[in-house]
Amino acid sequence: MTPGGGLRATVDITRGDFRLRADVGIPPGGVLAVLGPNGSGKSTLLECIAGLRHPHGGSVSLGERTLTDVARGVHIPPHRRGVGVLGQAPLLFPHCTVQDNVAFGPRARGAGRAAARKVAREWMERLAVAELAAHKPHQLSGGQAQRVALARTLADEPGLVLLDEPLAALDADAGPAMRAVLGRVLRDGDPARCGLLVTHDPLDALTLADSVIVLSGGAVVEQGATREVLAAPRTSFTARIAGLNLVTGRAVADGLRTVDGAVLSAARCDGVRAGAPAVAVFPPGNVTVYPGHTAGVVRAGNHRNTGSAVVESLEPHGPVVRLRIAAPRSGPEHGWVAGLTADVATAAVAELGLEPGQEVEVAVPAEAIGVHEAFTGQS
């Protein structure tokens, strides 16, 4: 509806005991991913930007247009914002055909029947749903319905598209296909449109967004280029969604001293000052698991980063088995191993006879560990 420009939003809102204070910016044509655990305020942020919720403070502007300015009492209603929303559920109007759904936006803004149909056609073709034009929503598969919903959102030519976990409700086949479609339309470099994507999946963030913010407890705890944030997480939430292990402590020369006093040596230290709060990050695939009775042998070997642990749980994870590790019952000296995950080949699990409760020895080679400055709450 309007030539977009970028988004600038500062939102301050309190709901019950929960307070969200976030500051986000998206350049024209850019896509920002918002990651965060449940209840971190992602959806509230989205609703404030879409105009579906009144923040208690702050402002939202899209390009030159001010959409919300609490101090000046400005609150443009949702239908005049030019902000499109696509959620988990496609929410196609059940009484309209696919074509009428896609044409809804242009029609609602006063386009004639023929003109709206023409716009709808274009978008249905771009999203490969043109052959479904005469279908009713209940005749569509989940993936088709979500593609139609995306076509409907984009046919309205919003300056900003808000995507609230658009792949979350799709099955294993439809998800990747929809991700590819989203990638194509979001990354077409149209400077008139920017996008904001709420997701749980680091793959979405990596493939669809150029930058990312991580919300936790109503505050932005990490932000930056997607690749950098996910490769060097500073909070355990980010590490978990990035599928990485994270151990907190303080930086020492060539490594990290954990909270319980163990020292992990690391190959990469990212220029962290010794003594500064830091995190050690390493992928589960680099954690090696040995049977508990071989502890002495393991420690005598080349591995410096070792610890005693017990297996807490096992679950299949693609071609490997992902072990969740707990601290040993005996003592606190290897507390840093608690909560780690380790990927072990299925054959090895059988060979070692791994099962929950079993004592094991874990080792992480220094080459796999990166140490980064930790998020301390003021970044």
Partner: protein, 286 residues
């Protein structure tokens, strides 16, 4: 169920019930003991009608039904019930939408007021209408003085009485449907650029259609059967205010065969109304 098909699969617990129900399905939740009171309940509803049918002289039916009084009553009933149903739709749909979105104490108070005619004895409703619109009522007095119009004991009074008692059926049906789903469709429509009026006409109303149909049927049936409020507020004047139920009551004193024939007519109309429009609740599980 209303239009949320897009969310299908969201609840995994639902899948256990989603299995196709056919004659091989075992009803695990229904104790056999319930069948006895259930049968009694059914008998209580069905047997009186059987009694009426047994007492009917079918050979005299055409003659009884085509009497001047019967035809007048039939025409009057159909006209007034249609008019009051129309009034219920025109006024009740907006009321239901406003009620469904009214929050807090105000909403609760408004809902209580709307439900009043449902629990009030119709005679009391008729009396209340009389003391609002009768010559002694404040609005009736005003109408009489300003416009020279007197409402009680006219056909308009019949329509008013029927609208009064039937409105809650429509409003409850619509409001229930509105409150059963959230406003997500409306919110999506708004983000697509639809003004509130466009959202109402192009999204809310079409989604309300099934509830509107069943609500209208209930509303019409209630209006057709209205007795107490009508006789109090509109009296029983043949051709003007004596609707079918009033005619049945009048005939029951003098010509019982005629009364039975008219009762049968009302039953047939009721069955036709239910059969044609089939409220959602009658369809059972699909």
């Amino acid at each position: 169920m209303t239009g949320t098909g897009n969310n299908a699969g969201a609840t995994s617990a639902g899948s256990i019930r989603a299995g196709r129900t056919d004659d091989t399905t075992v009803a695990v939740g229904v104790p056999r003991l319930l069948r006895v009171p259930a049968a009694l309940a059914l008998a209580l509803v069905a047997l009186p009608i059987v009694g009426l049918l047994l007492r009917t002289e079918f050979t005299r039916l055409p003659e009884l039904l085509s009497s001047q009084a019967s035809l007048h009553a039939l025409r009057l009933s159909l006209t007034t019930a249609s008019l009051s149903t129309l009034a219920c739709i025109v006024l009740g749909v907006p009321l239901a939408v406003v009620l469904a979105r009214a929050a807090g104490n105000l909403g609760a108070l408004l809902r209580t007021i709307v439900l009043l005619p449902l629990v009030l004895p119709p005679v009391v409703g008729g009396l209340a209408l009389l003391y609002l619109l009768g010559v002694n009522g404040f609005l009736g007095y005003l109408l009489d003085v300003v416009a020279g119009a007197r409402v009680p004991f006219t056909t308009a009074a019949v329509v008013l009485a029927q609208t009064f008692v039937a409105m809650p059926f429509l409003v409850i049906s619509l409001e229930g449907s509105l409150r059963a789903r959230d406003e997500n469709y409306e919110r999506v429509a708004a983000t697509l650029g639809a003004r509130p009026w466009t959202v109402f006409t192009r999204v809310t109303c079409p989604l309300l259609l099934p509830a509107l149909v069943s609500g209208t049927v209930l509303c019409f049936a209630r209006a057709l059967g209205e007795f107490g409020a009508t006789i109090t507020f509109a009296g029983s004047l043949q051709g003007v205010t004596r609707t079918l139920p009033l005619e049945v009551y009048a005939q029951a004193e003098s010509d019982i065969d005629s009364a039975i024939a008219l009762s049968l007519l009302l039953i047939v109309i009721a069955i036709v109304v239910i059969g044609v429009a089939r409220p959602r609740s009658l369809r059972g599980r699909a």
